[in-house]
C-alpha cells in the first residue's frame, strides 16, 4: 500500500460531500483494516486500474447517508431506498474521479470501473487485492462513514 494515495482520496471525499451535499465531514486518523467487514450500512465499491491496481469503497452509516442524499436531492429521504443506493454509487464515482484527477497531477493515470453498491448491516467489502486496506474515518453530525482503500504500489509518476 502506497500512503501517497491517502490524501487524494481524503480531499476528494471532502470536496464531493461539501459541494454536492453541503456536508463538511471531519476526518479522523487513518488505520489499517485486516478484515472484510464493512464499517457502515451502505457501501459503494469501485475497481481501479492503471498506474496502480486496487479498489476504493465508501461505507456510510444510515444516519450519515440519509442526510447526505437528502441534501443532494433537496428532499427528505427517511430510509435506505433505491435513491440512496444510486446516490452512493454516484458519490463513489465522483470521489474516485476527484482523487484520480489529483493523482493525475502527480503523474499517475488511474482509470475506474463502474461502482457497485451493497447495503445491509454487517455486509462485507471484497477488495480487488484482497486486503488489508486503509480506513480513513469521517464524522458528520448525523453519523460516521469511512473511506476504505486497498490499492497496490503506484507505478510511474513524477
Amino acid at each position: 500500500m502506497d500512503v501517497r494515495v491517502i490524501n487524494p482520496f481524503l480531499n476528494g471525499t471532502v470536496s464531493v460531500l461539501k459541494t454536492m451535499a453541503f456536508v463538511e465531514p471531519k476526518a479522523g486518523k487513518p488505520f489499517l483494516k485486516k478484515d472484510s467487514l464493512a464499517r457502515g450500512d451502505v457501501s459503494g465499491i469501485i475497481g481501479l486500474t492503471g498506474s496502480a491496481r486496487g479498489s476504493l469503497a465508501l461505507s456510510f452509516s444510515e444516519g450519515a447517508i440519509l442526510k447526505i442524499v437528502s441534501n443532494m436531492l433537496g428532499e427528505e429521504i427517511k430510509s435506505v431506498n433505491g435513491d440512496i443506493k444510486d446516490a452512493v454509487g454516484e458519490i463513489t464515482n465522483m470521489v474516485s474521479g476527484a482523487a484520480r484527477k489529483e493523482l493525475e497531477t502527480m503523474g499517475y493515470n488511474i482509470t475506474a470501473a463502474i461502482p457497485t453498491v451493497v447495503a445491509g448491516k454487517d455486509h462485507s467489502i471484497s477488495h480487488v487485492l484482497g486486503g488489508p486496506s486503509i480506513i480513513i474515518p469521517f464524522e458528520t453530525p448525523q453519523g460516521p462513514f469511512v473511506v476504505d482503500i486497498c490499492i497496490g504500489n503506484l507505478n510511474g509518476g513524477q
Binding site: V69, M72, D86, M94, K101
Partner: protein, 130 residues
C-alpha cells in the same frame, strides 16, 4: 443580457438519482423547464420528438455514451447547433480532448454547485447568441 430561464433543458444520465440532483441544482438556478432521458438512445428520441434548447449529458452511460450522443447531435442537420454541456466525474485530458474534438459546447466536472452549473449554461447560451 440575461439568459432565458424558460430554456427547455434535457438532462441525460443513467442514474435517476443524478438526474434528480441536476434537476435540483437547475431549479436553484431558476431553470424549471426540464426533461430527462436515461441514456443517449432515449435522449435522441426526445430530441427527435420535441424542441429542446439545451442538453446536459453525463459522459458514462450504457447503450449510448455522452460522447456518442454528442457526435450524433453534431452530425444531425437539425440538431448540430444545439448547446451541449458534458458532465463528467473526471477531467482527464484524453476525455476533454475527445469531447472538444466532437464539438462539445463546454464541460463540467462533478462535483459542482448550482452556481457553477448556472454560470456554465449562461456562458454557453451567451456565446452561441453572440
Amino acid at each position: 443580457m440575461s439568459v432565458n430561464k424558460n430554456l427547455k433543458i434535457l438532462v441525460v444520465d443513467d442514474f435517476a438519482t443524478m438526474r434528480k440532483v441536476i434537476r435540483n441544482l437547475l431549479k436553484q438556478g431558476g431553470f424549471e423547464n426540464i426533461v430527462e432521458a436515461e441514456d443517449g438512445v432515449a435522449a435522441l428520441k426526445v430530441l427527435q420528438s420535441q424542441k429542446v434548447d439545451f442538453v446536459i449529458s453525463d459522459w458514462n452511460m450504457p447503450n449510448m455514451s455522452g460522447l456518442e450522443l454528442l457526435k450524433a447531435v453534431r452530425g444531425s442537420d437539425d440538431l448540430k447547433e444545439l448547446p451541449f454541456l458534458m458532465v463528467t466525474a473526471e477531467a482527464l485530458k484524453d476525455n476533454v480532448v475527445a469531447a472538444v474534438k466532437a464539438g462539445v459546447s463546454n464541460y463540467i466536472v462533478k462535483p459542482f454547485t448550482a452556481e457553477v452549473l448556472t454560470e456554465k449554461i449562461e456562458k454557453i447560451v451567451k456565446s452561441m447568441a453572440a
